[in-house]
Amino acid sequence: MAQAIAFYFIAACILGFAVLVVSTKDTVHSVLFLVMDFLFVAALYVLLGAEFLAAIQVLVYAGGIVVLYLFVVMLVNLKRPPEAHSDPHRRTMLGFLLAAAVLVEVGAIAVYGHSQPAMVPVPGAAMPVTGNTAQIGWLLYTSYLIPFEIASMLLLVAMIGAIVLAKREL
């Protein structure tokens, strides 16, 4: 029961803040709603028993990525609202329709999946460690070592790319 209340509350907050993110005029407010959204997603992760992911979500998303967004919004400091100029080729209704189609499709898959027999747990390779954090660490440094290294390379490349893009003179 408590779990259901928590889930519905968190889900409502996530969706509400998400709607605010895409609908607010002021970009700074939009960024703020995004932070709130991410914090509630982190709460959802806690509900799902993924504490490590929740902490990472707050640390990387809320504490890192969104700060970056906020910096850019502050630096860009718009004189006129970006929505002012509209492309005649733009079809806003088509966008809504496409999004509705996506919702229907994904929803249909979910409902169909629900009607199927429940998935049985597929335990991964036997892990010598217990606890959420330790298990993730163990997986990252054994089975997924190469993807992990590739991800770190990706971050390095992104870092250099961002520096090149943002620096005035090289």
Binding site: Q3, A4, A11, I14, L15, A18, V21, V22, T27, S30, V31, L34, D37, V41, L48, G49, A50, L53, I56, V60, G64, I65, L68, Y69, V72, V73, L75, V76, K79, P82, E83, H85, S86, D87, R90, T92, L94, F96, A99, V102, L103, V106, G107, A110, M119, P121, P123, M127, I136, L139, L140, F148, A151, L154, L155, A158, G161, V164, L165, A166
Partner: protein, 101 residues
């Protein structure tokens, strides 16, 4: 009523759709980027819900990779936005049409 994986998937679908609407409808490129972050979060919710259902940590490992990619995407994307803004003084994607013939 117990909360099942389907609940999480439906939540994720709704969040995904909101993100898609943001990408399709808004013209402010910063908000479009934020909508993409919402989409990535929807995916992460899915991954972690399945990870819980299947009782193994692989979904969470994937979520970590998604977060890493999101961080890289944000850094490079925002760098591009800044570069564009400095040249054209706008963040409206309808004005980003220099390659249109």
């Amino acid at each position: 009523m117990p909360i099942t994986t389907t609940h999480y998937i439906l939540l994720s679908a709704a969040l995904f759709t909101i993100g898609v609407v943001g990408v399709m409808v808004r013209r402010n490129i910063i908000i479009i980027f934020m909508s993409i972050e919402l989409i990535l979060n929807a995916v992460n919710i899915n991954l972690i819900a399945f990870s819980q259902q299947l009782q193994n940590g692989i979904g969470q490992v994937f979520a970590i990779f998604v977060i890493a990619v999101a961080a890289a995407e944000a850094a490079v994307g925002l760098g591009i936005i800044l570069a564009f803004y400095r040249n054209k003084e706008t963040v409206n994607i309808d004005e980003m049409n220099v390659m249109r013939s």
